[in-house]
Symmetry: C2
Subunit: 438 residues, 2 copies
Amino acid sequence: MNRPKRFLLAEDELPRQWYNIQAEMENKPMPLLNPVTKEPLKADDLAHIFAAECAKQELDQEHVWIDIPEEVFERYKYYRSTPLVRAYALEEALGTPAHIYFKNESVNPLGSHKVNSAIPQCYYCKQEGTTNVTTETGAGQWGAALSYAAKTFGLECAVYQVKISMQQKPYRSFIMRTFGATVEGSPSMSTRAGKDIITAEPNHPGSLGTAISEAVELATTTPNCKYTLGSVMSHVSLHQTIIGLEAEKQMEKAGEYPDTIIACFGGGSNFGGLAFPFMRHQLKSGSEKKIDFIAAEPNSCPKLTKGKFEYDFGDSAGYTPLIPMFTLGHTFKPANIHAGGLRYHGAGPIVSQLLKDGLMRAVDIPQLESFDAGMLFARTEGIIPAPESCHAIAATIREAMKCKESGEEKVILFNLSGHGLIDMTAYNQFINGDLVNV
Amino acid sequence: MNRPKRFLLAEDELPRQWYNIQAEMENKPMPLLNPVTKEPLKADDLAHIFAAECAKQELDQEHVWIDIPEEVFERYKYYRSTPLVRAYALEEALGTPAHIYFKNESVNPLGSHKVNSAIPQCYYCKQEGTTNVTTETGAGQWGAALSYAAKTFGLECAVYQVKISMQQKPYRSFIMRTFGATVEGSPSMSTRAGKDIITAEPNHPGSLGTAISEAVELATTTPNCKYTLGSVMSHVSLHQTIIGLEAEKQMEKAGEYPDTIIACFGGGSNFGGLAFPFMRHQLKSGSEKKIDFIAAEPNSCPKLTKGKFEYDFGDSAGYTPLIPMFTLGHTFKPANIHAGGLRYHGAGPIVSQLLKDGLMRAVDIPQLESFDAGMLFARTEGIIPAPESCHAIAATIREAMKCKESGEEKVILFNLSGHGLIDMTAYNQFINGDLVNV
């Protein structure tokens, strides 16, 4: 009965470096291209909008390990390590012989993994003399994390939140304001791009496309202001590898090694963060494929399972560089599911290459299956998961039920990327039978 | 720069017993009285509405240490120990030489310390053959915790939530429903008491008084149904001592010992939970008074600072036993502040006796000061505190600022009893300047 449930690291066991998978991939991610010249971008090109150090990390295919700066580490210590938890109660409810573990990023400041990259992005901006940061956000997890990180480094922060999301989930914009950020519903009257959209369509509900356009415009037209973002790009996944590096040490404390690693998938930051450190042992051709890596996406936005691998824009307006990605097309309009963080048309360059090379796979999950999974997880493990994380749980349950059929005692590790306390209207709709598959 | 920030206990360091301060108090708490006969109540009298083991614990003035049952401990391991955190960033913002620590109960399932007592109360009910539990809740922290605990033990759970709170903070009732509880706005049509109130006043907004009446009626008229509650009573504080027992070991790891211990105060469960284990070293007359214990209450509900010590009812309708308490009178109507958990007219029997005997003191905090403190804490430490916990933070800041004047390096420990993510409308009102002192 007295079985260990949670595994934590002492401060002196915390990782001091991030893992840069690009440096060890046999087939490197294809370069970002200038959309006009079709020439590969250099770090200097990216440094116009990003912090210079982030631009450098984005293209770094040389250094396997990147030191975590001391001031970033100090802030990681506020909440890391996050717990690795054995989900005994979920296992028992499923009647599965599988051993299910989850990495609990929901106890982080602001309730999700996003803060792991918000802190270093703001740190580098501060170091380089930037005084203002800006970004876009949909449901608001990234915007909230950035607001906190900006505040701790004394930076001003302006967030463009998709207008319809801001109206549907007002709590998240209140959170950003609590951390001192300025929050504008996008499209707004504060940028040229926003004004043009509103002029053409006064009641435009906004989209990540409009919000990215406004944030990039603000960054490029404001002195000492940089643009930041919460997923897709390779430097964001780099920062998130703190998750997997911790988990690897924690699994060792648990005396087990994962057979299967699962994370939900929007742009790739929480998936890469957990998966890449484990994947490094099976990157080389001919190396033993011990772990099955599974990205769980919504079936209403299935870029990994049904998209094409090609160069595409990162935003719907076509302002970004061309990115090599599995994509549904940058004009794809995802259905209005509650997992706002997964409503993105493309995957980041690293994951796209790994998927193409067969080093990972993807599954797609209908909305109702995701909430069924989330409800069971809440009722067994006591944590209400974010709608995004519900997709990882649903995929985990699928694998655990296969083990029940086969009798295999597989070890499954998934990432609980965030909690769902700001998304309770979604749960209420689900309980009332008002949610549908889309 | 590399200074330890968080202190955690390994599973084998977790406390295995609760501390029963009643057994070591020189002046015991005065007995609960039957309101008709004025005779002291016996455990059997209480066991009609509470689990028998809880009734026994309520009156136990003999056993100093009470074993935590194995099945309760298993569930504690899901989330305990909670972190003890050194609030460096808050200290720096204040410019105080004080060392500020907080015990972070906000990362618990359901976001507050309430689950620490919900689990054992449900466990004892289950052991004794009870199939249904019920309770009242205001803002909903306790109701949410009970819903989760009931679910893990397979008990049905019915919560009467103050109707106006249910309408103002719908997310919390959604949370309870996610854990399978039935939630009724009180007054409801499901009880005699509720019907009578609605008949007399169709638009009655409800109160803790109406909700207690309904829950007690349900418990006494339903087979195999027991009443539970989240504060005031001595067995609830007993269960909460897990907080202070952990904190004592964690302070030792930090290499410090508190000069001051602070918690917010509603009925006394989070205050007693943190304070009692430390207080045990200075209970005896003549023992050295090392620690200054401070309960922080809202100035709009000042039972400790301005109430009278006398026998009073626990509910506004006068259905409960007579309780020896510092009280504002059981018909006192607290102002509608956002710290719903502190809107209670009386203090529990143990704390009332300790206050009378000078073993602790109390301060009262205006609403705006509490939110000022909460905003500063959020922006420095990255956690948005519950409106209740903001009172503890405000009292901590007062003490820390005294240290700044005097130059004393006092060690202050406070309890962060819960997070404020369900209370974001309150923060939004504060930021907009729409909150007032009441």
